[in-house]
Structure formats: structure tokens, C-alpha cells
């Protein structure tokens, strides 16, 4: 087991850390008698290019052939029946079936200095193609949303495994003692729900903290129980003082009975103080009032279609600035067929694109001008892609785990670069295939973590995010 600091596993389980679903308590490190916090900032295995990750999760699966994976053959073959090894048919029947090729509804053009082909689905993002690193040869596990979404987040379709963000926080700790190390904004309750940001067998300090949920406007998103809705500030402080007075009294009473103070009970007292500090500090991070109108406009905040995701993206930047290690910005909903899941109605992709395009472009621009893109890794993508042919000869596309596109941007990845390819239809990854495990390994690598060494011992063996697979994709690294 990789043991980043000297605390024991038992210590970890009975953690004294005041994790807020993950919260560092660097201050505690200096206190005698208290073990190092598992969330204390740690030295990575390797020189790190990225200090943090912002993952823009496009739930439901964006169609690669309608966005960034340009396949002129689809126009030529549109409407013709061709034999495809469709993943769902394969899983159910063990063989493929003929299907009708369906061209993209969006026109492709070249963009930027790199001359990247991209469709007009994401016009604002297209302005940033020279900052993006496209992985066109992605493939993953599972055919349905549940398994694939879990695989994307935990590296397993069925087993209970820690989320990527939990692994990262476990490996690196956090940079801000008053904030969670791993935050997920408006996560879906569907398709695995909390398991997608859960710590599984890792100590609970590494679990993701959810802020907001789908269906609630991002402007109302908050951390649960952070504020007392029935008491004012003074009363809150008084209440805390009363609990702490009793706690201190009870520790002295123990001492009188021959029971020495210990770290476990001290940790309870500290957890109250920390909770109080968080109440003071955290709400400001999520409050966008201090942002200029120009910045709000940049993210599309205030405009109907883009307000919600725009706020989430801006919150992500503010969390990144404040030292949060792993921030997931969900574009999702609570249904079993989430957001981008256009089985029957491809034009709906356009509505979703409108909602995220400006906010994401704004985030990229904002990170860049603040110098944050240099040590922040931005990851955009869904749990899988979509088929280049019509689902059941209708007007939508079914899931495609065998070939899809994600992009990375920022710390340590080549800008204006494309890697990997699908076949001429845009269906199966064929060249420089990148499995989701490989992407996980690469994300960890960029953060300075060796995916082979980032292990945790549970139920008698060492576990990894990448199971026994995963290769770092070196050709995309700067």
C-alpha cells in the first residue's frame, strides 16, 4: 500500500481529521499528540503538471459524430443500411445488425490555427480548439447508463469502488483546510447517484461533497447543514460555546477518573471548531456577488439558457482558486435517460449544447486569463458516445461505448492536438485506442500520481482506480 504519510491505517479509519466529506485540517498537524490529517497536502509520486481537476461531465453521452469527430462518409452514406457491430446488440445477442447510417444535423468547419474540424453544435467552444486536446479513440465498459456512468467515475461497472475524485484527494490531500477537497456540483441522483462521488472503502474524509442537485437552480445550491436556518450568528456561536463547555468539562471529569485526554475525543472538539470556521468561510466561495458583470457575461450568467451551467462553471473556477482539488461540474438530470441521451430526437442535442457551450468557453477563457489553466486540468466528456447510425431506423442515436471523444485542456496536455481515431463511420475506436482506464491513469499521472502505486488495502488486497489495466497516454503530454 502506498502510504503517503506516517499515519496508520487504523488511525485513518478512526480519523481525527475534520473532513468535510473531506476537509483538511493542516492546523492540526502542528498540535502535539494529534496524528497527521489524512487530508493534509501530500507530496505526489511524480512531478505534477496539474494541481487540480475540473471535470465537466456531460451525462447521457454526447454524440461524437455531431460534435468533434468529423466523418464525411456519413453524409455520403446517409440513409443507407450498413452492418454495424452495435454494442447493445452484441451484448444481448452476441452479434451485430444492419442499421441506417445517419448524417450529422450540424455542419462541420475548420477552426483555429490547428484547423480542427468541429461542428457548429458548439460554436463558442470552437473558438478554443487551439487550447484543447481531443481524444477521439475513447472506448469504455457497459452499454447502459448505469454501468457506464459508474465505470467513468469509479473504474468499475458493478463493484463498489471509490470515485476518481476520492482517489485524487486520498493521494494528494487538499490545499484548503476550510473547504472540502472534492466537490461535485449538482450531481444526479440517478445512474449510481452518490456512488459516483462516494469514497467506497476509502475513509469517509475522502468522499465528495455534493453542492446542489439537478432541478434546483444553481443559484440556490448550498452545502447541507452549513447554516442554521433558525438561529442568527450570535446564537450559533453561543450554541457552539455551550457544547464545547460541556465537552471540556467531560474531558476534565475523565481526567479526574484516571482517563487521560486522547486524540479521539480531542478530534470531536476540533470538529466543532472546524465546522464553525466553515460556516464562516465556505458560503463566500459559492457567492458570485463579487464577480464583475463582464465575468458573469463571459459565462452566460443572466441569460436564460446558460444561467444555470454558467453559474456552476463560475463556482468551479472559484473553488479551483480556493484550493479544491477535484471539482466535477455536472450537466445532468435525475432521470434514467439523462440529458444528452437522444435516442429518438437528435435536434435536442442542440438545446443541451446551447446550455453548456458558452459557460464552458467562458470557463476556459477565464482560467486562461487568470493563469489557472497552467496548473488546472479541464476534462470534458460523457460516459460514452453515440452511434453514427439511427436507433431502430428512427431519428435518434443509441449509446456507443466503443468509440467516442473527450477533450482535455490545461496543465500538462498538448494544446490544439488530436489523438486517436474511430473508423470511417465514427463508430469504433480503431487507432490509438484509449480506454477509460487509460484516461484515469493519465489524469492521475498529470496530478503526479502513479496509478500503479496509488493503492489502498481493503478486504485483504490492494485496490487501484485502474484495477489491473490502464496505460498513461504519453503522446498527449507536453
Amino acid at each position: 500500500m502506498w502510504n503517503p504519510t506516517s499515519f496508520s491505517r487504523r488511525r485513518l479509519l478512526q480519523s481525527t481529521a475534520c473532513g468535510f466529506g473531506s476537509l483538511a485540517l493542516a492546523g492540526l498537524l502542528n498540535k502535539p499528540g494529534i496524528a497527521a490529517s489524512p487530508l493534509a497536502s501530500k507530496i505526489p509520486h511524480l512531478p505534477a503538471k496539474a494541481k487540480r481537476v475540473i471535470f465537466l461531465f456531460m451525462a447521457g453521452g454526447v454524440s461524437q459524430v455531431d460534435s468533434f469527430d468529423h466523418k464525411p462518409l456519413l453524409d455520403k452514406e446517409d440513409g443507407k443500411s450498413r452492418e454495424f457491430n452495435d454494442a447493445r446488440n452484441l451484448a444481448r445477442n452476441g452479434k451485430g445488425a444492419p442499421a441506417r447510417v445517419m448524417k450529422s444535423l450540424w455542419k462541420f468547419n475548420q477552426h483555429g490555427k490547428s484547423g480542427k474540424w468541429a461542428s457548429e453544435l458548439f460554436p463558442a467552444m470552437c473558438e478554443h480548439v487551439d487550447d484543447l486536446c481531443f481524444l477521439h479513440g475513447m472506448h469504455t465498459e457497459g452499454v447502459a447508463h448505469g454501468p457506464s456512468t459508474l465505470f467513468l467515475h469509479t473504474g468499475s461497472t458493478t463493484q463498489i469502488r471509490p470515485s476518481v475524485g476520492s482517489w485524487v484527494t486520498y493521494g494528494l490531500g487538499t490545499e484548503n483546510e476550510n473547504l472540502p477537497g472534492f466537490v461535485t456540483l449538482s450531481p444526479s441522483m440517478g445512474n449510481g447517484g452518490p456512488r459516483n462521488y462516494g469514497n467506497a472503502f476509502l475513509p469517509s474524509v475522502f468522499q465528495g461533497t455534493a453542492i446542489g442537485k439537478p432541478g434546483i437552480p444553481a443559484k440556490d445550491a448550498k452545502i447541507r447543514y452549513l447554516l442554521n436556518e433558525r438561529r442568527n450568528d450570535l446564537e450559533e456561536r453561543e450554541q457552539l460555546d455551550l457544547v464545547q463547555a460541556l465537552n471540556r468539562e467531560q474531558i476534565s471529569a475523565r481526567a479526574a477518573r484516571g482517563i487521560a485526554a486522547d486524540t479521539e475525543l480531542d478530534a470531536v472538539i476540533d470538529s466543532y471548531e472546524l465546522a464553525y470556521r466553515m460556516q464562516q468561510f465556505a458560503p463566500g466561495i459559492l457567492d458570485l456577488a463579487a464577480e464583475s458583470q463582464e465575468t458573469l457575461d463571459l459565462y452566460g450568467i443572466g441569460q436564460k439558457e446558460t444561467d444555470n451551467y454558467g453559474r456552476q462553471c463560475l463556482m468551479a473556477r472559484r473553488l479551483a482558486e480556493s484550493g479544491v482539488r477535484y471539482i466535477q461540474v455536472n450537466y445532468s438530470d435525475n432521470s434514467n435517460n439523462p440529458a444528452w441521451d437522444q435516442h429518438s430526437n437528435m435536434p435536442k442535442h442542440g438545446e443541451h449544447a446551447k446550455a453548456v457551450d458558452r459557460p464552458i468557453a467562458g470557463l476556459l477563457a477565464d482560467l486562461k486569463r487568470r493563469g489557472l489553466l497552467e496548473d488546472t486540468l479541464v476534462w470534458w466528456g460523457g460516459e460514452f458516445g453515440r452511434n453514427p447510425f439511427a436507433e431502430k431506423n428512427g431519428t435518434g442515436r443509441d449509446h456507443n461505448p466503443d468509440g467516442f471523444t473527450v477533450w482535455l485542456a490545461g496543465a500538462g496536455v498538448k494544446p490544439g492536438f488530436s489523438y486517436g481515431a474511430t473508423d470511417e463511420f465514427g463508430h469504433m475506436a480503431v487507432e490509438n485506442k484509449t480506454h477509460m482506464h487509460d484516461l484515469h491513469a493519465t489524469v492521475l499521472h498529470l496530478l503526479g500520481l502513479d496509478h500503479l502505486k496509488l493503492t489502498y488495502n481493503f478486504a485483504g488486497r490492494n485496490f487501484r482506480l485502474t484495477d489491473v489495466a490502464g496505460e498513461v497516454i504519453h503522446p498527449i503530454l507536453t
Binding site: 441506417r100 468539562e249 465546522a275 435536442k348 428512427g394 488486497r461
Partner: protein, 999 residues
């Protein structure tokens, strides 16, 4: 050949493989050892062939394959070595990589062609290179690389394995001699004291009586002792006082709620399936009640094992016993499974795997699942043992396959009253059905075209959402017909029996309201129609495929066929798509109607339907005679009666339960866990290493679950009783004698007191596997009575207190914390049993897409064991305070101390509400008392003791301040101010150390 997906570790649903430990290879299970006589020998001398190998083959192998398939590979994949001739011929887990001379039968060639395996995974090699390989195999695969493969076949040595402590037979250790003759009060104490004396340590002093009482009360029933119980115990000076308390607690119905919950942790009990699409287990509460009742009745644990694994196969003396037996088998079905897995063979093995894991860890303390893909890396469990067990579970019927599959359910035997009610109801239905059939017949006779007015009707005349064919999205050529005058709107569409597979019609309704809809397809039947027309629906219940026989007349009014009732909502673009793929005969489509289910019984808006309540002057279609109208009205009336009759059907109880499968068969090994790469079948059986004496015989006509249960629930099974008594010890001391309670394998910890463990295991099985006797024995020991006091010398020698020189301090777990707050507030609802998920919106999915845990509101104040235990949604208090992860066997709870717990105790409405109720109760019950007296009472209620002087003055000061400031700042009367002040006092008590920890 089935198409496989790349490398073994990329195959779907491999549960896991062991990180970073693939240094050696498990030689394949279907490997032929006869490579030495292969035709390759003849080719060896062929210099030309060698030259070809050196020029065309070796460089490719070295460049593209060696990184994963050579002795130097960082991690060897699939057990396949390609860096020696021997390796190529032996092959890996999937068998020999080539058949010299036969490229078409060679796995390597298939893999290069991306047929089956896809190698190399980074991308297909050029056609020329693949041709070169084919040629090479064809000429006999000449290969000069003579080195022998440098890996040894690693088998499992079962005899050596049996020497590990947990597999050795359970002994009958005598209690040891101890120097201090006075301290020990039982044999348990002598085992403990002997170890302490060996280290020159002494146990600390006993806990005071009130501390012990609080400890034992929480431990046995999960609630705090009441002030009256405290007084009674402190006043009872008889030598029997301790035993009397223990016997009272053991007899309390709350005992089963506490200890049943412990077992539910181990049984990974949950009320939803988890996985991607989490589905509510509506009947799981029956199992929860079964467990609670069993612990209250002190059912022998041996019997509990048998019932849970094989209740359905046992003899049921009475219907009550049969009920219990069937409900018990829910245990096998409660796991977290991904029922939407599309590859159903994978799902079947996943479910079996989950069961092996639950039984393995829960009952045997073994991580058997590790052996799914390879021999266990650490414990003596070969892959064959895993598949021997898998055969038992695969011979059990537990899955119903659909797009999203389901677990099995079985009806429960009914009480005589219910049975009579059901029979009566069935008879009434049959009678009414008879009348209905006759009425329909008559109506049809009178109006041959059906009871609707014949001829075209407008879509607007029909209820619900009607999408006519003119609004459908068409793919391919469809022509409009009006040939048969029985359609909605302007006509209907036909594929003209041409262009099969090229045509579809997609109907896309817009829903304004979420709900359940009856989806009806209107088509025009005739003898030349297609018999099997594929119709696909996208509904909120999932994707549904049905086949429609268009030769048969649509049963509803001669126009419509119901495709079933499904949920829809405004969130998505749902559809019904009719295709002519694979059909023979004409496909006709008229319209699709979505009738909200509460309107289904309402008649369609036609003259005939209105005849139910005829009014003067009503327009009557002249084509229908009066008699016909009457007959049709009778049908409508009877259909209504039928609907209300079926709606009042008595509830036929059912349970999650299993049955033996129709086909009993041994399971074939899945090579590297891949269900599509099967090796030899393994006879059903049990873990060899833990078998003392003869292995159980598996019946040819039964799954073998009963035999498995007997093998586990055997006093001589070296694991079962040890694992169980150790769990009980853990719940009472906060640490097991073996601290890794779910892992008795080589990667687990060894016991601190192996003799005591065996002693307890023997006592347990000798005492008829009685949990209550075991607990009684332990909690009446002197060891359990120790205080948590410090001792410098002992702490230096044994800092982790493994030798139990003192009691461990323990934190209240989530349920005890919640229940204690409710007990103090007076809001605890002690109603036992029954469905916990009682919110109709969750059960029926009203207002949401599907029945789901996501909208559930946790409102009740019953004991925590009755709080619905969903997998994807947990009560927030449970989440904050380390509730058991229901996704896996959780013999041990995590203990974390994190800021969200403080936030929860400071700010959650639940805690504040309980504190307010406790305060109000105190003021109501002690109206005349002084604040000082009230403080004493509050402490006794919450902490089971009087306040210290310091505590008292802190609380009194806060009371004075709060009452004053609240009165000043608001118009509230002083009694309101006092109430708020007391709310804060109780909230502080709920948050303080002595409430949250047991000394």
C-alpha cells in the same frame, strides 16, 4: 465465435483483478500439454521458414506484443507469453495461441484480425502484417526461440493451506490457570487474565454501576436506560442484580431490533437494488422483520443459516413456517446488482458472484470472490472452488430477464381468511368475466363492425393523447389507404408488403403530465397482414419491444390493441416506433393513443358509450340500432364493474424468494472471469480447504443449497462458528478477537486470543447455536465490566488494548445516536415491523418517472432499524455517522470524526426538533421544579447520570442568558423563551461527548 472485447482485463464486468500482483501466470485450464509433438517440430529445420520468422514475425512480436506478453512484461496479460516458442504453443488462459498449419483455427490470427480478441489493443496491424502471420502459421510456425518459459505453474496446496489457523479444526481448550484467583468471574475472564498475566499486566478497575448499565443497555437493545431503570439497578444490592438486568434486556422486544440490525449489516440488507438504475425492493421489509423476529426468538443460528440459504427447500410444518422459510431466502436476493446489464450471461454470473461474496464474507469470513478470475492469490481457494459454489447458485432461479431484469418473487402462503377472500374474489371475477364475454358476443352480433360507431372517427373524439399516422415520422415509403373504413382521421398507412426492413413510423407524443398511460396501437386487421410486427417503445420504464399480430382483430373496440401501460413524463422525447423489419405480409398502422390510466375505464367519446346514461335529444348514430346500443352499453357497464372489482382484489402477499432452477447444472469456469470464454465444468461443491471429513454430496436434481447450508452450519466447519462468535465479541467490545471480522484469511489479522475464540465457538455450538446465551455469557463476564480507565504500564505494553486490560471506549453508531435522541425527546415510536417504505409516491412512482428512492421523505420516528435502507439514498444522519455500506458485507462500521457530523448536530432540523421536544416534555412534566432540578433530570435522561458542578453551572448560565435574551428580543412570553432555552440545552446534550460515546 462471439465477439470478445480486447484484453481480459477490459472485458465487461470482470469484477476485479488484484492490483499489481500479476507477476505470475495461472496456466490456462484447457491447455493441451502435447505441444512437443506438434507439427512445428517438422518445420524447425526449415531454414527458409526461420528466415521468414526472423524477417517478418519476430520484429512485430517484439515491437507490438512483448510489452504485455513476455517474461519482461511489466504486467503479463491473459497469461500469454509470446517471447518463446513454448509460450506461443502453450498459450494463455484462453488456450494455445496458434494451431501450427491452421491459421483459421489460431487464436493469435483471430486476435490480429480483431475477431474475438482485438490485438494489439492500440490498433489493428496492417493487412500485410496479418497476412505474414497467417503464412507463418500455415507453414507450421517455424520458431527458433528455444528458451523455456520462465514461469512455474502455481497450484494451490490444500494440505499446506489447512495448516492456517482458521482452517484448523476447532479445539476444546480448557480455561487456563491464573495467578489471581479472585478477579475472574467466568472462564472467559480466565482466558483474558492469563494473557495479561503473561505480560505482567493487570486489568483496570471495574466500571461504576451506572456506566455498566448504560453500556449493557445500549449494547443489548440500542437505547439508553431510563432514569427509573437506573434507580432500580443502583438500588438492587442483590448478587443477582447484573444478571437480572441482562435477562430483562435479552427478553425485551428491542433486543431483536438491535441485534437483528447487526445481522442486517452482514447480510448487506437494503431496500433498493443500487447499481445504475436503482429499483426499490418493496418486499425486503419482510426479511428485515424475519431477522428481528428470529433474534428475538433466539432462533438457533444454525437454523438461520439453513433458512436463509435454502428455506424454500426445507420441510414446512405449517403455513407460518413456510412463510418464514420463503422470506428467509430473500437473503440471497438483497445484493447490489446492475439489473440493466445488457449482457444477461454477465448479469447471471454477477448475481452469483454477489451471493458468493455475501456468503463467503458474511458466514465464512472468506474473500472467495477473488477466485472468480484466478486462483485466490492469498488464500487456499482455487478457481474451481469458486465455480463449484457458482454452480449451486446458478442452479437456483433468481432472475427474470427483461431489458432491465428483475429478481424473483414468490407468493406467500396465506392465512385461511385471506385465502377465502382471494377465492371469493376470484369466483366473482370469473362470474363477471362470463357475463362480460356474453355481453360482448351479443354486442358484436348486433353490430358486426364493433361497438364503436363504424366507419372513420376523428382523433379528437378519442380520449388521451392521439397521434395519427399523418403526424408520425416516416422512414421509407408508406402509402395511405382507406380501403377498410375503420380508421381514425384521414385513413391509415400501409407498407404495401414491400421494402421489408426499410420502413419505420415513429410516433412522438408530448406529455404535459407525468403518469401512467395505456399505450394503444390502432391498425386494420385482415388475413393478409403481417403476424409479427416489431414495435419498440421508449418509455420512462425503459425500452420495450413488443410484437403485434395484425391478422388478429384489435381487441379494444375492434380498433385498438393495448401495448401495455407505461410511465411517461414531460422530461424526455418518448416514442413508439413501428417497423416492418422481418415481417411477412402487410403492415398497417392507423394511430397511436396514450390514455392516462385513470381514464382507461372511461368510455371513448362516442354515441354508444354515452348510451350508458342516455339523454333525451341526444344525437344517435343511425347506423347503430337501439338494441345494439343497449348491448354495447351493457358491455361498458360490465367493464366498469370489472375494473372496480379488480381494483378491490385482496392483497396476495409475496416475498423476494428463490427456487431451484429448472435446469440443475454444474458451472463452467469462466476463464479470467470472462463469461464468454468458458473452460471445463466444475462439479458443484464447497470450499475444499474448509472441509473437515467428507465433502457434501450434491444432489443431481437439486441446486445443492441445502447441502451447502448444512456444510456451513456444521459445528465442525472451522470457519462458521468462529466467525460468528467473533462478530458478537466485536459488537460488545468494539474490536473482535480477530479484528478483521469479515476476513479470516491469510490477509486478515490473527486472533488475539485463539483459545478463547475456540472456547466461545464450542460453547456456542454446544449451547444449540444460541445467540442470547452467548451474549449473556460475555456481558456477565468481569472483562465486560471493566472501566475505560488508563494504565500507563499497560498502555505502554499494549497500546491498542488487544489484551483487554480495559474496556474500549465506543462511539454510538448512527442508529443508536438517532434512537437515543428520539428516546430522550419522547418521540420514539416503538411500533415494530411492517413495511418501512410506506410512501405511496415511492411505491407507485406517482409524480416521478419510476418508483424510486430518490424522492423518499424520511419522516417517521420509529426505531432506526425500520428506516428504509436504500442503496443510493441514505438518511442524512446515517450518512454522516458511518452507517453500514449496504453494498457489501459490512461486519464492521467505519468510525470517522468529521466536521459534517458537527454541522449535523448543530444545524439539522431533526436534531433541533428532538431537542425542542425534549425541552417541552421536561417543562411539561416538571412544571414546578427549579431549573437546577430540571438540569439534573435532563442529564439523567440524556446521559444516564447527574451533572457535574461544572456542567450544571454552564447549563444554568446558558439558560439564564437565553431566557433573558429571547424574552427581550421577541414578543414571546417567558414560557416560550424558557422553551427555546431548554431546546438549546438538550441540543448541547445531544452533541456532547458523553452522549456520543459509551465508556
Amino acid at each position: 465465435m462471439l465477439k470478445l472485447r480486447a484484453l481480459c482485463s477490459f472485458q465487461r464486468s470482470i469484477p476485479h483483478t488484484c492490483a499489481g500482483v500479476l507477476a505470475y501466470c495461472v496456466i490456462g485450464l484447457c491447455v493441451s500439454p502435447s505441444y512437443a509433438t506438434s507439427p512445428a517440430a517438422d518445420a524447425k529445420s526449415d531454414a527458409h521458414g526461420i528466415e521468414f520468422f526472423e524477417a517478418k514475425i519476430r520484429p512485430v512480436l517484439a515491437e507490438k506484443c512483448y510489452s504485455c506478453h513476455s517474461a519482461d512484461a511489466k504486467a503479463l496479460r491473459g497469461g500469454l507469453l509470446l517471447d518463446t516458442k513454448q509460450g506461443v504453443l502453450i498459450g494463455g488462459d484462453s488456450g494455445p495461441s496458434i494451431e501450427p498449419g491452421k491459421p483459421d483455427e489460431s487464436l493469435l490470427i483471430q486476435a490480429l484480425k480483431f475477431e474475438g480478441f482485438e490485438m494489439p489493443p492500440s490498433g489493428k496491424l496492417s493487412a500485410q502484417v496479418i497476412k505474414d502471420f497467417e503464412h507463418w502459421v500455415k507453414i507450421g510456425a517455424p520458431d527458433p526461440r528455444t528458451a523455456t518459459t520462465a514461469i512455474a505453474k502455481k497450484g494451490i496446496d490444500l494440505e499446506a493451506g489447512r495448516k492456517f489457523w482458521s482452517f484448523t479444526p476447532i479445539g476444546r481448550p480448557e480455561p487456563p490457570k491464573v495467578a489471581d484467583k479472585r478477579w475472574a468471574s467466568s472462564d472467559i475472564d480466565r482466558f483474558i487474565l492469563a494473557k495479561l498475566e503473561a505480560k505482567k499486566l493487570k486489568p483496570v478497575a471495574d466500571a461504576d454501576r451506572s456506566t455498566w448499565l448504560r453500556r449493557v443497555t445500549f449494547d443489548l437493545i440500542g437505547l439508553p436506560p431510563s432514569p427509573a431503570e437506573i434507580d432500580a439497578f443502583l438500588a438492587d444490592k442483590s448478587p443477582n442484580a447484573y444478571a437480572a438486568v441482562v435477562d430483562r434486556l435479552l427478553a425485551s422486544p428491542q433486543f431483536g431490533e438491535r441485534w437483528g440490525r447487526h445481522w442486517l449489516d452482514v447480510a448487506r440488507f437494503a431496500e433498493s437494488s443500487g447499481g445504475g438504475r436503482s429499483m426499490v425492493f418493496k418486499e425486503a421489509w419482510r426479511y428485515r422483520d424475519y431477522v428481528i423476529d428470529s433474534f428475538n426468538a433466539d432462533k438457533p443460528f444454525k437454523q438461520l443459516i439453513a433458512e436463509q440459504l435454502a428455506g424454500d427447500l426445507l420441510t414446512h410444518e405449517t403455513p407460518e413456517v413456510e412463510r418464514e422459510h420463503l422470506v428467509a431466502t430473500s437473503y440471497l436476493l438483497l445484493g447490489a446488482n446492475n439489473y440493466e446489464e445488457q449482457d444477461k450471461r454477465v448479469l447471471e454470473m454477477d448475481v452469483a458472484d454477489e451471493q458468493i461474496d455475501a456468503v463467503g464474507k458474511g458466514l465464512l469470513g472468506m474473500t472467495i470472490s477473488c477466485a472468480r478470475c484466478h486462483d485466490h492469490k492469498f488464500d487456499p481457494i482455487p478457481t474451481a472452488d469458486y465455480y463449484a459454489l457458482a454452480g449451486i447458485f446458478r442452479s437456483t432461479h433468481m432472475l427474470i430477464h427483461e431489458n432491465v431484469s428483475k429478481w424473483t418473487e414468490r407468493p406467500l402462503p396465506m392465512s385461511p381468511e385471506t385465502e377465502a377472500a382471494v377465492a371469493k374474489h376470484e369466483a366473482a371475477v370469473a362470474e363477471l368475466q362470463g357475463k362480460l364475454t356474453a355481453a360482448k358476443k351479443l354486442a358484436k352480433k348486433l353490430t358486426p363492425a364493433g361497438i364503436l360507431k363504424s366507419g372513420p372517427i376523428a382523433a379528437s373524439e378519442l380520449p388521451g393523447i392521439v397521434i395519427d399516422d399523418t403526424q408520425a415520422k416516416r422512414v421509407g415509403d408508406w402509402s395511405t389507404s382507406r380501403h377498410v373504413k375503420q380508421y381514425v382521421g384521414e385513413g391509415y398507412l400501409t407498407d404495401d408488403d414491400l421494402g421489408k426492413g426499410e420502413k419505420t413510423l415513429t410516433f412522438q407524443p408530448e406529455f404535459k403530465k407525468a403518469g401512467l398511460y395505456d399505450v394503444r396501437l390502432s391498425y386494420v386487421s385482415l388475413g393478409n397482414r403481417a403476424e409479427s410486427v416489431p414495435v419498440s417503445l421508449l418509455t420512462a420504464d425503459g425500452e420495450i419491444d413488443v410484437k403485434v399480430n395484425m391478422r388478429e382483430e384489435p381487441p379494444i373496440d375492434g380498433r385498438f390493441l393495448s401495448l401495455g401501460k407505461y410511465r411517461f413524463d414531460p422530461s424526455n422525447q418518448w416514442f413508439v416506433m413501428i417497423s416492418n423489419e422481418g415481417t411477412a405480409g402487410f403492415v398497417t398502422v392507423d394511430c397511436v393513443q396514450f390514455v392516462p390510466v385513470d381514464e382507461v375505464a372511461a368510455p371513448v367519446k362516442t354515441d354508444v358509450a354515452d348510451a350508458d346514461a342516455p339523454k333525451a335529444g341526444q344525437a344517435v348514430d343511425n347506423t347503430v340500432s337501439d338494441e345494439a346500443a343497449k348491448a354495447a352499453a351493457a358491455v361498458v357497464k360490465l367493464e366498469r364493474e370489472m375494473k372496480s372489482l379488480t381494483a378491490t382484489a385482496p392483497d396476495v402477499p409475496k416475498t423476494m424468494a428463490v427456487d431451484d432452477a429448472e435446469t440443475i447444472e454444474d458451472c463452467k469456469i469462466c476463464i479470467r472471469g470472462n463469461v464468454h470464454n468458458r473452460g471445463a465444468a466444475v462439479p458443484r461443491g464447497v470450499l475444499q480447504v474448509a472441509t473437515v471429513g467428507k465433502a457434501p454430496q450434491m444432489p443431481p436434481d437439486g441446486s445443492g443449497r441445502r447441502e451447502l447450508a448444512s456444510w456451513i452450519a456444521d459445528a465442525e466447519n472451522p470457519l462458521t462458528s468462529r466467525v460468528y462468535v467473533n462478530r458478537v465479541w466485536y459488537y460488545l467490545f468494539g474490536a473482535g478477537l480477530v479484528r478483521t471480522v469479515d476476513n479470516f484469511g491469510t490477509t486478515g489479522e490473527s486472533p488475539s486470543h485463539p483459545e478463547l475464540l475456540d472456547y466461545l465457538a464450542r460453547q456456542f455450538t454446544d449451547n444449540g447455536w444460541s445467540t442470547k446465551k452467548l451474549i449473556r455469557q460475555i456481558v456477565l463476564s468481569r472483562t465486560y465490566r471493566l472501566s475505560t480507565a488508563d494504565n500507563k504500564q499497560a498502555a505502554a505494553t499494549d497500546p491498542e488494548n488487544r489484551l483487554l486490560w480495559r474496556m474500549n471506549r465506543r462511539r454510538l453508531d448512527a442508529e443508536a445516536l438517532r434512537d437515543a435522541m428520539l428516546a430522550v425527546s419522547g418521540k420514539l415510536d416503538l411500533r415494530a415491523g411492517g413495511p418501512g417504505v410506506n410512501d405511496p409516491s415511492v411505491l407507485k412512482g406517482v409524480g416521478t418517472v419510476t418508483p424510486t428512492e430518490y424522492t423518499y421523505e424520511f419522516l417517521d420516528t420509529r426505531r432506526s432499524v425500520y428506516t428504509p435502507a436504500f442503496r443510493n439514498r441514505t438518511l442524512e444522519l446515517f450518512e454522516a455517522f458511518d452507517f453500514a455500506d449496504p453494498n457489501t458485507v459490512a461486519g464492521k462500521r467505519n468510525v470517522s470524526t468529521v466536521a459534517p457530523q458537527a454541522l449535523y448536530l448543530l444545524n439539522s432540523p431533526f436534531v433541533m426538533d428532538q431537542a425542542a421536544a425534549a425541552g417541552a416534555r421536561l417543562l411539561a412534566e416538571e412544571p414546578a421544579a427549579s431549573d437546577e432540578a430540571r438540569v439534573e433530570r435532563a442529564f439523567r435522561e440524556a446521559l444516564g447520570r447527574k451533572p457535574t458542578d461544572g456542567e450544571k453551572s454552564a447549563v444554568l448560565a446558558a439558560l439564564a442568558r437565553d431566557s433573558k435574551s429571547i424574552d427581550q428580543n421577541s414578543e414571546a412570553s417567558s414560557s416560550d423563551g424558557r422553551q427555546v432555552a431548554w431546546e438549546r440545552v438538550f441540543q448541547a446534550l445531544f452533541g456532547c461527548l458523553d452522549f456520543r460515546y459509551l465508556e
